[in-house]
């Protein structure tokens, strides 16, 4: 269970989220939707511990991300950022293995065929799938994904959604930022909107 309690987040002096509370149930898929600039990615980064609220608290079970070391946090939550950029020519397999075993997740996301390609040569959609695969390979109870379905074709979308549903059934708490219309989110267990 992720508990968000009255958080206020400011970035560069601008208030992004104000006095916001929410509970995200364990072992389910929660999707955060909303217009550009509504603070979706900021909320996800705050749950991940990379942004610290100026007021209020966030807890993953009884862990405060803002007060926990990077190493400890990496065992609790994984996150794929939006527009992951790769500067060095590691292979797809090497990048995923920085987080954990790669074979199973590469198969699930149809990355096995490009396992030995340099990540610097991938398309936007492929890069995003590698970032998702890396986060899943980290094998944590909480999985945070920022816009995982953007830049994906229909088949890849289906594959990613199937993967997330499988993980949620196994007890993983999945939180996703998405741009979809609400009617296209039948795969979500919970939808968060109206962050502002």
């Amino acid at each position: 269970m992720i508990t968000i309690n009255e958080i206020t987040i400011e970035i560069s002096g601008r208030e992004i989220i104000y006095g916001y509370s929410e509970q995200i149930p364990a072992g389910s898929i929660t999707v955060i939707v909303g217009p550009n600039g509504s603070g979706k990615s900021t909320l996800l980064a705050a749950i991940a511990g990379s942004i610290v609220p100026i007021k209020g608290t966030i807890t993953i079970d009884d862990v405060h991300p803002a007060l926990t070391s990077a190493m400890q946090l990496s065992k609790i939550r994984a996150m794929a950022v939006q527009n992951q950029f790769y500067s060095l020519g590691f292979t797809v397999r090497q990048v995923i293995e920085m987080a954990g075993p790669a074979d199973e997740i590469m198969q699930a996301l149809e990355l096995s065929a490009i396992a030995d390609r340099h990540v610097t040569t991938l398309s936007g959609g492929e890069s995003a799938r590698v970032a998702i695969a890396q986060a899943v390979a980290q094998n944590t109870p909480v999985l945070l994904l920022d816009e995982p379905l953007a830049a994906q074709d229909i088949q890849s979308r289906r594959r990613i959604i199937d993967l997330l549903q499988g993980l949620a059934e196994k007890g993983v708490t999945v939180v996703v930022v998405a741009h979809q219309e609400e009617k296209d989110l039948e795969w979500a267990d919970k939808i968060i909107k109206d962050l502002l």
Binding site: M71, A78, V81, L88, Q94, Q134, Q138
Partner: protein, 326 residues
């Protein structure tokens, strides 16, 4: 073929080292016999041996310093003579010499060099991130400005106070191995080993740091700590080298890139392979610097650039996917 490359590079290094010991202004009779008779031939053991060992150590140290600068900044252009490290080491050493505290090549001079290197590198990073997070653009611009300022002070100091023991502006700008003695080797050995060992220990985290600060953090990397450790490794390795032999630019930029082109981006492997390539380049450059224009000796930094630059250009032309910029 590729699996034999590390062994081939190592073999090249051994051949270049032996060649460098054998070739010079004075011909050594019965070279192989003298090589297995330590201390017997004065030219070989008191002049060439310390110089060749210094070239190996400094080459390896500067290459790893460059690798740390590039890894910590996630920037392909970073190297000790661009982010202020070398100029900081030069200035601190020159000041300490002019005040009569230390002599070039002593452990004291190296200590001043390392402290100056750390201070100048930290200053570059501090100034580059004053307004917001560390950007590649700010880092390189500020690094060049810090280097220019500190190098100018070194130049003015050595010109105003002309003293042989403070070395010349050419020494601090282009480097020289001509005054190396056996006594100087201990200091550069210690700093090279510490710098390289520290670099090796943080190498896996630098792989993750290449994915960006946010992703590295998500993967469990304490980004600020790793970056600081990389800068300390950079400063120790480069500070020790620069305070003893002056600034040899370009090697720290070229050696890690050449290693990356050949062996890929994994930092554990790169720490070792960059060291070997850096040592190889500097030994070859030093042999050429002291032989091709006899009796004159060419500044080593210029020869290093002349050798390293075409190799780097050729590799970029052949294969351009090792480092992508946004």
């Amino acid at each position: 073929m590729k699996r034999y490359l590390p062994a081939f590079t190592l073999l090249l290094l051994v051949v270049a080292t032996l060649g460098s010991l054998a070739i010079g202004a004075t011909h050594i009779d019965a070279f192989w016999k003298e090589l297995f008779n330590p201390g017997h031939n004065a030219i070989l053991w008191q002049i060439r041996f310390p110089r060749v060992i210094a070239a190996l150590l400094v080459g390896a140290a500067l290459a790893v310093a460059g690798l740390m600068a590039q890894g910590a900044c996630n920037n392909a252009l970073a190297e000790p003579s661009i982010v202020g490290t070398s100029a900081g080491a030069s200035l601190a050493t020159v000041i300490a010499i002019l005040f009569g505290i230390v002599q070039v090549g002593s452990l004291g001079a190296i200590a001043f060099g390392v402290v100056g290197a750390i201070a100048a590198t930290a200053l570059t990073f501090k100034l580059a991130s004053v307004r917001s997070g560390l950007s590649s653009f700010a880092l390189i611009i500020v690094g060049i400005a810090v280097t220019a300022t500190l190098s100018a002070i070194v130049g003015i100091s050595t010109t105003m106070v002309t003293r042989a023991d403070a070395r010349s502006i050419s020494f601090w700008n282009f480097g020289s191995l001509s005054l190396i003695t056996t006594d100087n080797l201990l200091g550069i050995f210690i700093t090279a080993v510490i710098g390289i060992a520290l670099a090796y220990s943080i190498a896996p985290d630098l792989d993750r740091l290449s994915l960006g600060d946010a992703t590295a953090f998500h993967l469990g990397v304490d980004v600020a700590k790793v970056r600081k450790l990389a800068l300390v490794a950079l400063s120790i390795a480069a500070g020790g080298a620069v305070s003893t032999v002056g600034t040899i630019a370009f090697l720290g930029l070229a050696a890690p890139h050449i290693a990356r082109f050949i062996y890929g981006p994994s930092h554990r492997f790169l720490v070792i392979q960059s060291s070997i390539i850096g040592a190889l380049l500097l030994v070859i450059a030093d042999t050429l610097a002291r032989t091709i224009a006899q009796p004159n000796e060419l500044p080593i930094g210029l020869v290093t650039s002349l050798i390293g630059a075409p190799i780097l250009i050729a590799l970029v032309a052949l294969r351009n996917t090792t480092w992508k910029t946004p």
